[in-house]
Symmetry: C2
Subunit: 323 residues, 2 copies
Amino acid sequence: MRREYDIDLLIGKFKEKDKIALARLISIIENHPEKASDIFKNFNHIKHDSYIIGITGSPGVGKSTLTGAIAKRLLKEGKSIGVISVDPTSPFSGGAFLGDRVRMTEVSLDPNIFIRSLASRGYRGGISRAVLDITLLYEAFGMDFIIIETVGVGQSEFEIYNLAYTIIVVMVPGYGDAIQMQKAGIIEIGDIYDVNKKDLGGADIAAHIDMMLDDSTFQGGWRPPVAMTNSITGEGIDELIEYLYGHKEHLELSELLRERKRNRFAYKVRELLYYKIDNVLESLISPDEIKEISKTAIDNKFQIYDLVHDLFSNVKFERKKDD
Amino acid sequence: MRREYDIDLLIGKFKEKDKIALARLISIIENHPEKASDIFKNFNHIKHDSYIIGITGSPGVGKSTLTGAIAKRLLKEGKSIGVISVDPTSPFSGGAFLGDRVRMTEVSLDPNIFIRSLASRGYRGGISRAVLDITLLYEAFGMDFIIIETVGVGQSEFEIYNLAYTIIVVMVPGYGDAIQMQKAGIIEIGDIYDVNKKDLGGADIAAHIDMMLDDSTFQGGWRPPVAMTNSITGEGIDELIEYLYGHKEHLELSELLRERKRNRFAYKVRELLYYKIDNVLESLISPDEIKEISKTAIDNKFQIYDLVHDLFSNVKFERKKDD
């Protein structure tokens, strides 16, 4: 039984492209973040880069089916794909309807794809920590593409634009309206917009988004295109994939891909620093002290800032300069 | 013009129940968290407690209309109410449809209610910091009830159950299904469940929730009731309010209200500590250093844990014991 937890053995199998080893390493990294560093040490010689795609949008717009349709197209080209789904209503995680789940299962049987869904809470060090580490595992595994599927901006615990190189924002006709999207800041983050479920109409909303994009300015000279798809029939997927390759090429030809990669790792660095600081905090201030202060605050609530200030006032910190 | 920013003057007017002064103080607290402590100093003598209600559910279930209907009922009883809406699609924040907005405006004209909506991002120190501070302002103002309206669990940046004493979870017939809710953890946090839009049916989902509740165990001896409402016609609101008072009484008669209050302040204490530590981090490690490490990580991504470890290794924290 001990063998199941033998990391060296798992790493060996992982390097032979064993998907079961990949699955186990993901589980280890999910549940034991302190082991991530040791696992990654084994990959120092690997230079492979995956291209990371983010697919985001409100619940119910068909992100998972679209992810499935895109994956199917890329698989047909001979690409390998790692999927991370961070959507509690995703069919990948057992939510949604049977029809969706059947479609996803069909795709997931292909040997060149690996799909992992994460519950959106309860991860030690946070969901973004887990997602970041899984992208690294997928890269070490040699995936050509990584697709991260997540619920809309501002609703999710982590921000997809810090992780992915191409962001596809998915919408459906009649769901809210375009002005609301603008408000929600979605119009600022997409590299490609996709109006899905085009059988329900969608020319109007596509035109509206186009109009808003015309009024916007774009950094780096990329004007986000607006695609229209039906992810169930596959209609429009070719065009969407074309846009995807277009954006990928745009990033590669400019310095922008490097910038997005740097952004991704800066995000990870900040995450790790927070995690360390969190541990420091726990070691300095005990749960009992927090409990005690909270009790005091019940009858002195307007002094809560002062109470915490006092608690923190005798914490000293310094950074030794390098010798 | 300087007078507009004279906090003493604002506090004076605030104590005379001036709603414009309340609005200004909220704005100050939203945008200048460092001033919160000074503002709250003026309230040290105030012993008033508000009762805090949380209303949560997915987008589109009618949380805002329900908030309006509950507020209307409480206003009729002569209660004063402060509303905080943390939902980008809420009519309070200008989202949603004209009909909703008109209904809300009607309620909001009552002198005993004050409504504030927050965008769900971009607050210094985070949205939960702002929400917590606004509840304190409402309490100092003397509100009988505070209603916090927020999108569903796991989708929001802050967790409503750390703030409110009674949580009402709102659902609608046909939106997802009850099993999904159980998965999403919603079934664990409600003190009251409400199936809204009962004109669309709902007996089935109400029965399903009831069944799930029968299978659950409850801390503190409260078995959450399931209400059915139509927040537009007002149908079922009386029953819902009855449940609300029932739960309030249950908490008051037991030690549980005190426990929820303690929980609320413990959350605030942790928030403040994080904020302080965040400032420390910024003072110790510069953005340039993070940028530099991120650049290095582009070509050495599997060493990212080690890179951060090195960066942090010469940072020392200590806490001086009290003399």
